[in-house]
Assembly symmetry: D2
Homo-oligomer: 184 residues x 4
């Protein structure tokens, strides 16, 4: 879950954006609603053939892989938040197929205290609606991401990839693959 | 559920097709596995904006509206059966987005005896995995269908449309709209 | 969605409760995470045979019917919020069977502006994870509810019952019945 | 998937049972509809705390672990088939909580040819609707099962347990745990 997502660069924020101190106060008081998107490539029959993972460097200088993830804003629909975060992370021509139903494949509860659930976010209590989103267009990593790597479902579930994912997103990715029938 | 779907015109049938007497025997002895597809148009955010219904004339000369529906053959994957029936009913360039997950939005149990479930098929006990399938291409009704009508989710749930659907498919369509968040 | 749920009577609040002014500020800035529970009675085979609706009088003196609904608190799991609100509304011996999976049957987005989605809450932007919860014990309406009425799925979807539900909860109830295979 | 389930001992079969040669013929011609149930113990909040696995000896004398599984009969509802197979394998006082919705957590496609899908059944093409079913009563292995072992979700996903499961049921069990939020 990317801290950068909360604060767009310019001084003029669209409606729904919070000042840094406001979001900090809310984060200590309320569960914050998030969306997680697992970007995938599918074949003609809808079968998942590849998973897209963002490559980032953490503030500590460690390489990490991440899903598309971010906050749902005030007065924003969940499906619009999905679109916005996919565009933010994969660029404007990713051509995502946002699911027709709001039913997520799971709900990931990131707690500030480790161990309450398998998901963890030291900054906040975030509750994330998780979706698998096929993308058909050209994806280019944006902002702070170094790269976007397309790997097979099998590779995505290997220990080597899993250890590079933080906060339980490796588990969330495996849950997505289980739901898509592609858990190795 | 279309009787015509079982028997392609030519004498040379692909593997998996049964002779007329074989399928008749099986239908009296086993539940037959079906798929139902609700073809939809979605907007950029994935929201359903239109539903495609096939217009047919029943053997009794009555106009009826139907979903895309048909049997899963021996050694055929569910997603391949979905693709095949969509192509059979909507033509080869419908460009369907078959869901990434095999999890259907519901399972419709068509019983030969009316009243056991809300679904009914006098010919057989059919159990159908039901999916909402966005289509992005050009759809043209094939075979015995007179027309393919695109109507809004609201229209699809009106009494006028519902009475033209048989065997419980009107209910199945409303369940699809409920799952997509588009039940009026 | 019950306003009373936010503020327990006593001055000593458990961790996670917000002061009235804090929740008011948050409500103007962030989507607030809720759960909606549709309490049902099921038969031996799991089929829904009755739905439980709370009968309340609105501040305007109008009778209304409602689902079990309430906010998820900071550092509270979704399944614990479900349990807490069911106990709050149905009493301590309702014996709810909270679902094994966090996957809701739908997500209801209550907007402060009517018409953005089919759900509306003038006080806030609430995003609610909705679950069907079988209860096997003795249910007694608590707090501000006058009664708990058990009605059939068919009755629950009648116009007479639907007009007594507010903010789109009538639709949410019908979506629950659609998912359970009990939409009339 | 248990061969024994097809043939009850007595000569008088209830309606829906097929003679041995009839089922053999059907198996070579049609996908056969199955149900798979993952029996679980849940805590008060619905969280899965244990999984029940049947211990059997294969005809080759090898120990194996299995889910509750079996065919859906002609004119039998899916939820009645679930109940029947759970009673058949876990005994008459297991007190299963069959899900309110027919929506399975996944659909497992067992092909007679290995490698088409991750599931395999050398006898037939079986398509199985898979459900997680909490049981609250006393479970005793019946018929050909030697034992019923309750293990934690973590143990259920270990390599040691997975290798004792056949035909892809180990994968199906992990998919169930992923859906329940209990994949390690």
């Amino acid at each position: 879950m990317t801290a950068s997502a909360e604060f767009p660069p310019g001084p003029e924020r669209p409606a729904g954006w919070l000042a840094r101190e406001q979001i900090a106060a809310a984060r200590a008081q309320l569960p914050i609603l998030y969306v997680d998107a697992v970007p995938v490539r599918v074949d003609e029959a809808g079968d998942v053939v590849a998973v897209g993972l963002l490559l980032r460097v953490t503030p500590e200088g460690v390489m990490s892989r991440a899903l598309v993830s971010g906050r749902v804003m005030y007065h924003e629909r969940v499906r619009d938040a999905l679109l916005r975060h996919i565009e933010k992370d994969l660029g404007p021509v990713a051509l995502p197929q946002v699911p027709a139903s709001p039913q997520p494949f799971t709900v990931a509860e990131y707690f500030p205290t480790p161990g309450v659930t398998p998901y963890h976010d030291p900054r906040q209590h975030a509750v994330s609606l998780a979706y698998v989103v096929p993308v058909t267009g050209d994806c280019r990593p944006q902002q702070d991401a170094l790269d976007l790597a397309w790997i097979t479902p099998e590779e995505a579930c290997t220990e080597a990839v899993q250890v590079e994912m933080n906060g339980g997103q490796g588990l969330l990715l495996r849950q997505a693959m289980a739901w898509a029938g592609r858990l190795p």
